[in-house]
Symmetry: C2
Amino acid sequence: MSSMANFQPLYKQVYELLTARLVSGQWKASAPIPSEMALAKELGVSQGTVRKALNQMVAEQLLERQQGKGTFVAEHTQESSLFRFFRLREPHGESLIPRTQVLSSLRRAAKKNEREIFSLDSNEQVVELRRLRFLKDTPIICEKVIQPLSIFPDIDKEPQLPNSLYTLYQEKYGISIVSVNDELRAHTLPSEFAELLELPVGAPVLAVERASKHIDGRVVELSYAYCNTERFVYSVQHK
Amino acid sequence: MSSMANFQPLYKQVYELLTARLVSGQWKASAPIPSEMALAKELGVSQGTVRKALNQMVAEQLLERQQGKGTFVAEHTQESSLFRFFRLREPHGESLIPRTQVLSSLRRAAKKNEREIFSLDSNEQVVELRRLRFLKDTPIICEKVIQPLSIFPDIDKEPQLPNSLYTLYQEKYGISIVSVNDELRAHTLPSEFAELLELPVGAPVLAVERASKHIDGRVVELSYAYCNTERFVYSVQHK
DNA sequence: CAGTGGTCTAGACCACCTT
DNA sequence: AGGTGGTCTAGACCACTGC
């Protein structure tokens, strides 16, 4: 080799390759991926090296392994994905499953900041979706979701949106949300949302601005949510 | 062995043992801990098994490793520990170092919920500390910290509290905060804090209720903070 | 130079699942 | 029984650090 400047550990190269395969969608969520031995033989590395790459992917929750059965693409199914990033719960209590009602959906040109965040061309369109979420039949969150049409073609034509959008993203568009970045503020409730949340105008609400990232690192969804935190809290565990 | 019911992988036993050593404080933060080879020989296991235990501790940010130099107790020093759990920053920007001013400190009997959370006897005392934190010379957070005296003897006698309490906990009391659990709400600002935060009574503020845990899993500190989020946001990254 | 951690391999044995 | 992942070992070589 002419230079060591591009040196990458073998296990990392394997990790990159396998992650690319996962992203490309060539592994079905229902069947196990090839075994350690099969991958090692195919790639010409030792089983231990494949194992190290696979374990890193497990740590990032891209894969799940079961002794004796095999290694599987992590299923970000309804409930688990809802729980994974949805952080509202009863004080000191458990997570709850929210119910969701779609309020409206419209296409419009992307704004300047959206074009920057999503890396869009100047005339591209996005879908702006408004939803109301309920916990225990109480309206608790009013949210606005921004989706680029170039990433989610005709998503506004979907007949019925599931409770968890991330499931739809994965199944219909091959987009796996692996990390989200939330910025939280306290706001006074804007008048346009007061009736929906059954709160007086000016009541304090938690404003959550979220950017969601696909496996490849691109931001593919933005959302802005106003949460009533009278009876529920946003919970964070740092380790 | 008479039964396999208590089977634990070797590396996990090593992990437990080394974590216990770390907690006991017998490793100085300045000097490297024994090398992989030395630990492997002492414990009668292979170097690879020691490595697996050490790498797990690195993943939990209990240790830090540097190629060629050695393995060190993670320094939760001023800046790094402040950044680790302190989540207020400029929108879309970097973390900032807060300045801190102590307002008051008093001893009192533990309340019922505090006795439960800290596992205290019925007549034990706690210290209630009030502080004001500044970002860029703007008062931004008013907080109340609860510390059990049985865990932090005479902490209210400390002549000068550092900007980061966690540093003091580690150096003087052998308490390492390894995880915190925050519950966030939007509140209206109570009148007692309005003047301190230079905000009108009733302004929306972010209320953060935090429980901090020592390595052994015990909650050793509670804090209640009111944050002005007009110019700064509480940032969370989920992976 | 010797000592440290980082990577990579090969092989053994175990526990678990399916057939 | 045969295949899977999980653990453990031993040894080789590399990269970085400090003397």
